[in-house]
Amino acid sequence: MFNDTMDTFKRYDYTFFGGMFAIFAIGVTNLYSATHADRAGLQELYMYQAVWFCIALSVGFALSFISSKTFFRYSYIIFIGNVFLLVLVLLLGKIGMGAQRWLAIGPFRLQPSELMKISTVLALSRWFARSGPDRELTIKELLVPLLIVMVPAVLVIVQPDLGTGMLLILILAVMVFYRKLSWKSIWIIVVIAIMCGGVMYKYGLKEYQRKRIITFIDPHADAKGSGYNAIQSEIAIGSGRLLGKGYMKSSQGALAFLPENHTDFVFSIFNEEHGFIGALFLISLYLILFFRYIWLATSVQHFFESVATIGFMAIIFWHTFINMCMVTGLMPVVGIPLPMMSYGGSSMLTFGIVTGIATSFSNSKNLF
């Protein structure tokens, strides 16, 4: 019995939690710097962030002891349950005070759209694992995965949370690519996607969403100041130069020239204080984590685990990439947080769960 427990911890893969913790540690000190000069109310944010990290870590750690078989078995049920929660949010929003993204459970506000990313990855993985994974994927076979993604995506977009909706589709793209969709099919889809994008832009977007995109393409068209945010962010990043201004020495952020400096724009503050070198270090940490996930995907024993791991990697990757593009002015500001760095309980919990499940996969591979 004792030996069993010892064995469990001997073959326990700490690398995922380790990577998560490393980035969180940088994130929380950065958060402290970003908010210490703020007016009362925001100064304690780093404490809350630490509490959220502990919660996320506990949930993730607990999940790491659940076998991959269980995840496989319940993946559809989890997916359907989560979709149900999304519908609930919409209905409550209709009855209550307008648009909401969260459900209040006691003192917590749960955002079902955050968990939806994980549920969708699990459901897709089960489908891919069961539909002849030894063959190349044909366009026809995309129908069901597309359905699995579009149901929650549409529900999230009407919340309205365009960012998360697009993220679900991007995650699917990575998983489909991994599931060996032929290059020919990929090109066909790319062409169709560009065309659909045009139509969506014309008819499917809300005024402020369209404005964000216009602002990005032509900052002159902006009168309300989102261009202002982007430029302030660029000044903050650029002013960090090679080595940065030093910890707690950010001026753009601390003087509140930068809005949302504790959520979407934490990377700007980090860059201002730690410079190009600091940014390279942080990006390396993320890259190490991503390659660890890719390595895991190729070394597990079941295809379900493999596809799911790629999906998880996609979740963290897209968040990181989009956020960095956004604050450096490569992309319009769409409100996607930087994993483990931005303040936010729901997103921290999401990454905790992802890390927990990935650890579980990694541990089960060492069973034999």
Binding site: F177, Y178, R179, A223, I231, G238, L255, N271, Q301, F303
Partner: protein, 658 residues
């Protein structure tokens, strides 16, 4: 569970490709960071240290207010404030005492202002002293290098040319209060901020939306000392940023005639009278003049009220903040009698020939009703009853009339309900009915009360404006207007955006004889030596009108005939007067009320006389001259009559002696 190794192995290539894509993506991010931090790093660093871009609110200039004759009544004047930005305050120990010295304020006061703004963001400037003198501005400008963080803000303040005159009508603007903020945001759908000025009284409040305009914003570069200047393009960095200009407010032209306003105001303040007057165009219902005294200086509000001035207004027992024309109602006194006469004539209680003896007292049951003068014992018709303001006549008439009948006719003339002028805080006045009294007091209506109401005492209350509207309706024989104060709204480039046309609320249908009799009575009030207004007939005005004296407190019997001027001030009657002119073709109606003025004829009538006289001079000088001739002839005639009567009585007396 084995056997999937092969499948996973076959996907290894794709996994590697994903790895490359991830690397390429972050390669892009790193390249961008290199561009910002290394390639453009120096420029951006320079920028973040030396200069900062600040988004500043640009408030829209407020619209002007003109009189109907094109005189500018409310203007905007620049004002300069000293402001401090804490972020740039490098050495407070030296800067603050120096600043206090320049501005002539104590260190305690300065510290108090700093403490008050303690929780403001450090980069946000706040006001240290408002309305700087030219000397203070020059001092701050020249000493700017030793005053880091201190700068001067230009600001537009509102200037009311006529100061106290017409202050209630024009109103004032002042900073939106913390309590108003959420309420007004909701009401107007405008994102007001603290520091925004909004109309709080009078026309400024009524037309706030029209006058205010829409504020915009501009981006300014702020240098290391916190002083702003318009941004210069640094490396096209701010190419994407554009100012949003403010939209100036529209101007308005009032229906007020400035000359009439001055004429009435001078008559009102000459003897420091407390009260007000309002003049209406009989044919359109436009307000030609409207003043209440005592008043306040509205300019003080837009400059930021000093606490001394505010407390002097609030603690003044004469209540200068009240608009006595529309915010206060009084017993109309004898000015109400025409409406009793109209009701009686229309209901057939009397006709033009009905004669009633006008002697000292009238008994109803055990209660005794007095006439306003002890003497007098002659038989009068309704016309002469109005002329002499005979209480007994109207008591007699009222004893045969139900209060609800009287109320019906009174309400037709707009008494007892808001006029719809649109200015805030207007009172309704009161026209009592049986139902009203039962509801309010739980007691049945007493017949005696009808008698008091018939001469405008008891429960009946009317504002000065309501009296003017009702008399205008008598003058034009039936048209009750919704009074207008705004003639037109004028856009920033001078074109008329909106015009306001007359609005008739009600057309009263009465027998033609009723109009004739009542108007004749009102004419004789002014133009017959026996009339109560004879001495205020003016020169060539052909005015008709009615005096009124409103009892403030019901007097005990022994005090009834005591001379009003001998009473303590608070017990003196209010003087009321309403008139219209010229009689043949009435153009203007004026009502005036003087608190504790004792008599309508001596206190209130001179104000009306002054306004009407000015009106005739300005708009119909020929008619006025003609009237003057007519008046002279009439006067001679009366003198002759007097002589003849005198001779007659002398002869009779002589005869009797024989």
């Amino acid at each position: 569970m084995f056997g999937e190794d092969d499948i996973i192995k076959s996907h290894r290539q794709r996994a590697t490709q994903i790895g490359y894509i991830v690397l390429a993506c972050f390669g892009l991010v790193v390249f961008r960071l290199w561009y910002l931090q290394i390639y453009k790093g120096e420029t951006l660093h320079e920028y973040s240290v030396q200069n900062r871009l600040r988004k500043e609110l640009v408030r829209a200039p407020r619209g002007m207010i003109y009189s109907r004759d094109g005189k500018l009544l409310v203007d905007n004047l620049p004002r300069f404030d000293a402001v401090l930005t804490r972020q740039y305050l490098k050495n407070p120990e030296t800067t603050l005492p120096f600043l206090a010295q320049i501005l002539g304020m104590s260190m305690e006061d300065l510290q108090a202002i700093l403490d008050k703004n303690k929780f403001e963001a450090r980069y946000r400037p706040f006001v240290i002293k408002k309305d700087l003198t030219a000397k203070e501005i020059a001092m701050i400008e020249t000493e700017s290098s030793s005053l880091p963080g201190v700068s001067i803000d230009a600001f537009i303040s509102r200037e009311y040319k006529d100061k106290e005159m017409g202050a209630h009508l024009l109103g004032y603007i002042s900073e939106i209060t913390q309590e108003q903020l959420p309420k007004y945001r909701e009401r107007d759908g405008v994102n007001y901020r603290l520091g925004d000025f909004i109309g709080q009284f009078g026309v400024e409040q009524q037309l706030d939306k029209t006058l205010r305009g829409v504020s915009g914003h501009e981006y300014v570069e702020v240098d290391a000392l916190g002083r702003s200047r318009k941004y210069i393009n640094v490396d096209n960095l701010f190419k994407g940023i554009e100012d949003e200009p403010s939209v100036p407010g529209n101007s308005i032209r009032l229906t007020i005639d400035h000359d009439l306003q001055v004429a009435g105001y001078e008559a009102l303040v000459k003897e420091k009278k407390i009260g007000g007057f309002v003049a209406l165009d009989v044919e359109t219902g436009e307000v030609l003049a409207m003043v209440s005294n005592p008043a306040f200086d509205p300019s003080q509000f837009s400059r930021g009220l000093t606490s001394e001035y505010w407390s002097s207004l609030v603690n003044n027992k004469d209540k200068p903040l009240r608009d006595r024309v529309i915010q206060d109602h009084y017993s109309p006194g004898s000015t109400f009698k025409p409406f009793t006469a109209i009701a009686a004539l229309e209901e057939g209680i009397i006709n033009g020939n009905t004669q009633i003896r006008c002697h000292g007292i009238f008994k109803l049951g055990k209660k005794i009703f007095h006439s306003w003068k002890r003497y007098g014992d002659e038989t009068v018709t309704v016309v002469d009853a109005l002329m002499q303001s005979c209480n007994i006549f109207f008591y007699k008439v009222a004893s045969e009339m139900d209060i609800d009948v009287l109320a019906k006719y009174t309400k037709m003339f707009g008494l007892g309900s808001r006029s719809g002028l649109g200015l805030p805080r207007e009172v309704t006045g009161l026209v009592p009915t049986r139902e009203w009294k039962l509801k309010r007091n739980g007691i049945e209506w007493q017949a005696g009360e009808t008698l008091s109401c018939a001469i405008g005492q008891s429960y009946i209350l009317a504002s000065t404006l309501q009296l003017a509207i009702a008399y205008a309706a008598i003058a034009n024989e039936g048209k009750v207007f919704k009074p207008k104060i705004i003639k037109e709204v004028i856009g920033t480039d001078g074109e008329v955006i909106e015009k306001f046309t007359p609005e008739v609320v009600r057309e009263i249908q009465l027998k033609p004889t009723t109009w004739q009799l009542v108007k004749k009575g009102l004419y004789k009030v002014m133009n017959n030596p026996k009339g109560t207004g004879w001495y205020r007939r003016g020169l060539g005005l052909e005015m008709a009108g009615k005096t009124g004296t409103a009892q403030v407190a019901s007097s005990s019997a022994d005090r009834i005939y005591e001379k009003c001027e001998n009473k303590p001030y608070e017990l003196r009657h209010h003087g009321v007067f309403v008139g219209f002119a010229p009689f043949d073709n009435p153009k203007i109606a004026v009502a005036s009320m003087v608190e504790h003025g004792c008599h309508g004829s001596s206190a209130a009538a001179p104000i009306v006389e002054a306004v009407i006289s000015k009106y005739m001079e300005k708009y119909m000088p020929e008619i006025k001259k003609e009237n003057e001739k007519k008046q002279l002839a009439q006067y001679r005639f009366y003198r002759q009559q007097e002589e003849i009567e005198k001779q007659k009585t002398e002869e009779e007396e002589a005869g009797g002696a024989e």
